[in-house]
Amino acid sequence: MPQRFQITRAAELESLSVFRQFISDCCASHNVPHDTVFDLKLAVDEACTNVIEHGYKGMDPGSIILSFRITPDRILVQITDFGHIFEPAEAPKPDVEAALEDRELGGLGLYLIYQTMDNIDYQSSEDGNTLTFTKYIK
C-alpha cells in the first residue's frame, strides 16, 4: 500500500524551506537514499520556484499543493497550483554549453528537473496545473 503525504502552502519563497523539510521528513521515515532525497529536493525546489515566480505573476499568490507518494520502488511527486498555465514544451532551452559569462541568469529549472527525475507529466486546465514526476529508487 503506497503511503501518501501532502502539504499545502502559499506560493511564496518562504515556503520553499518548508517543502524541503517536508521531503526530508517523508524520505527519512522510508530510508530513501541520500542522493535520491537530494534530487527530489532540487526538482521540487526548481518546480515550485517556477510557480512562485511565473505561475502567480501579477496576482496575490494562491496555493501550492505538494503531495508525495512512496512505494517500494518509486516516489511519485505531484505539485499542483492554480496560477497561469505553464507550457513546459514552450520554455526556452538553456544553453548549458555556453561559457558561464555568456549564460543568461535562471532558466535551468526545467532542465534540472529533466536531469534528475525519471518520468515527467504536466497537466493543465482551469481547475489547476499539476506537474507530476517520478523518481525510481535504486
Binding site: Q6, I7, T8, R9, A10, A11, E12, M59, D60, P61, G62, S63, I65, T80, F82, G83, E87, P88, A89, Y114, Q115, M117, D118, N119, I120, D121, Y122, Q123, S124, S125, E126, D127, G128
Partner: protein
C-alpha cells in the same frame, strides 16, 4: 535524459455547445462536463429531479420539509427552484413558515467563463434564531452583507451575539453536508472542481477546513495571520478605537473577521477583496492559515 515527458496528453474536455442538452450528450462521453445552462434546458421534471440532489435531506428534515415534494406537513411549498431555460445559473431557496422572505437556505451555482462552476452564494441560517438587521442600514437601504453600507448598531449586537460579519442569524452549521452534496452533484455532471470568492475571513477559514485551496489570496491569509500576532501591525491596530477593534480580537477567527470587516487591513495598505478559492472534487487541500484557531 528522461524516460517519458507527457504534456497535456489528455486535454481538458470542454462542452463546446453551451446550448440545450441532448440525449446524444447524455449517452455520449461521460467525462464531458455538463453546464448549468444545458441542465436548465431540460423539461421541468427531469430538471427538478437532478437539482433536488443539491439541498441536503438533513437540512430539510430539520424544518419538517418533505425532501421529495419540498412541502411542509400543511402541504405548503417551502422550497423554490430558479433554473430558467437559457440561464446559466441555478438558485435554490428554502424558507420557514408561510413567508418566502423568511429564507434559511440559499444556494446559487453558475457556469463560469472557463467552463467550470462558481458557487456564487451559500447561506444557511437558523430561522428560529434572533434576526439582526445587519442587511439594511438605518435608512432602510440594503448593505449587501455590509460591503457597501453598514448598520453599526446591529453589527455590534450581532458581534456580541457570536455572529460573523455578513450573518443576519446564527448559522445552521451544515456547510460540510452541503459541500458533500455539491461535490456529488458536480461529479454527476463530470466537473472536476468548483470555485468561490470568500466574502469574509470567517468564510475563508471555514472553506479551508472544507478542503479548499486558494487560487488567489493564500499569501494575504498568511500575512493576516502573521500581522495579528503580538507585535504585528494588525495586532497594534486593535486599539479599541471602534467596537470592532478590541485588543483581544486577534485570538479568534470571528474577532479577526470583524476587525477586517471594519477595515483594519488598511494599516497594511490592503483590502479584503480578490480572494478566490477552489475545491477540487474529492481532494482535501489541507490549507490551514490559522493553526490552532479558536472560532
Amino acid at each position: 535524459m528522461f524516460k517519458r515527458l507527457r504534456v497535456k496528453a489528455e486535454p481538458a474536455k470542454t462542452n463546446s455547445d453551451f446550448g440545450e442538452i441532448s440525449i446524444s450528450q447524455l449517452i455520449g462521453d461521460v467525462s464531458l462536463p455538463v453546464t448549468i445552462k444545458a441542465l436548465n434546458s431540460l423539461p421541468e421534471n427531469p430538471k427538478l429531479r437532478l437539482y433536488r440532489a443539491l439541498i441536503p435531506i438533513q437540512v430539510l428534515a430539520e424544518f419538517d420539509i418533505n425532501p421529495r415534494t419540498w412541502k411542509n406537513p400543511d402541504k405548503l411549498p417551502q422550497v423554490r427552484l430558479d433554473a430558467e431555460h437559457g440561464s446559466d445559473k441555478v438558485k435554490i431557496t428554502a424558507w420557514y413558515g408561510a413567508d418566502p422572505q423568511n429564507e434559511f437556505f440559499y444556494l446559487e451555482l453558475a457556469d463560469n467563463q472557463y467552463n467550470g462552476i462558481d458557487l456564487n452564494f451559500l447561506i444557511a441560517n437558523n430561522p428560529l434564531s434572533e434576526k439582526y438587521r445587519t442587511d439594511y442600514d438605518d435608512e432602510g437601504k440594503e448593505t449587501l452583507f455590509g460591503t457597501v453600507r453598514r448598520n453599526l448598531v446591529e453589527e455590534q449586537r450581532a458581534m456580541q451575539a457570536g455572529l460573523a460579519p455578513g450573518q443576519i442569524r446564527e448559522g445552521l452549521r451544515c456547510s460540510n453536508i452541503v459541500f458533500n452534496h455539491i461535490e456529488t452533484f458536480l461529479t454527476m455532471m463530470a466537473h472536476h472542481a468548483f470555485f468561490l470568492e470568500p466574502l469574509t475571513y470567517v468564510s475563508a477559514w471555514i472553506f479551508e477546513k472544507r478542503g479548499f485551496a486558494y487560487s488567489k489570496g493564500h499569501q494575504l491569509m498568511d500575512t493576516i495571520h502573521k500581522e495579528f500576532q503580538p507585535g504585528g501591525e494588525l495586532h497594534k491596530a486593535l486599539d479599541g478605537s471602534t467596537p470592532f477593534r478590541q485588543p483581544d480580537q486577534w485570538q479568534t477567527v470571528r474577532g479577526r473577521a470583524w476587525a477586517i470587516h471594519d477595515g483594519i487591513l488598511q494599516v497594511l495598505d490592503r483590502k479584503w477583496d480578490d480572494l478566490k478559492m477552489i475545491k477540487q472534487v474529492g481532494r482535501q487541500a489541507g490549507v490551514n492559515t490559522f493553526p490552532d484557531a479558536k472560532y
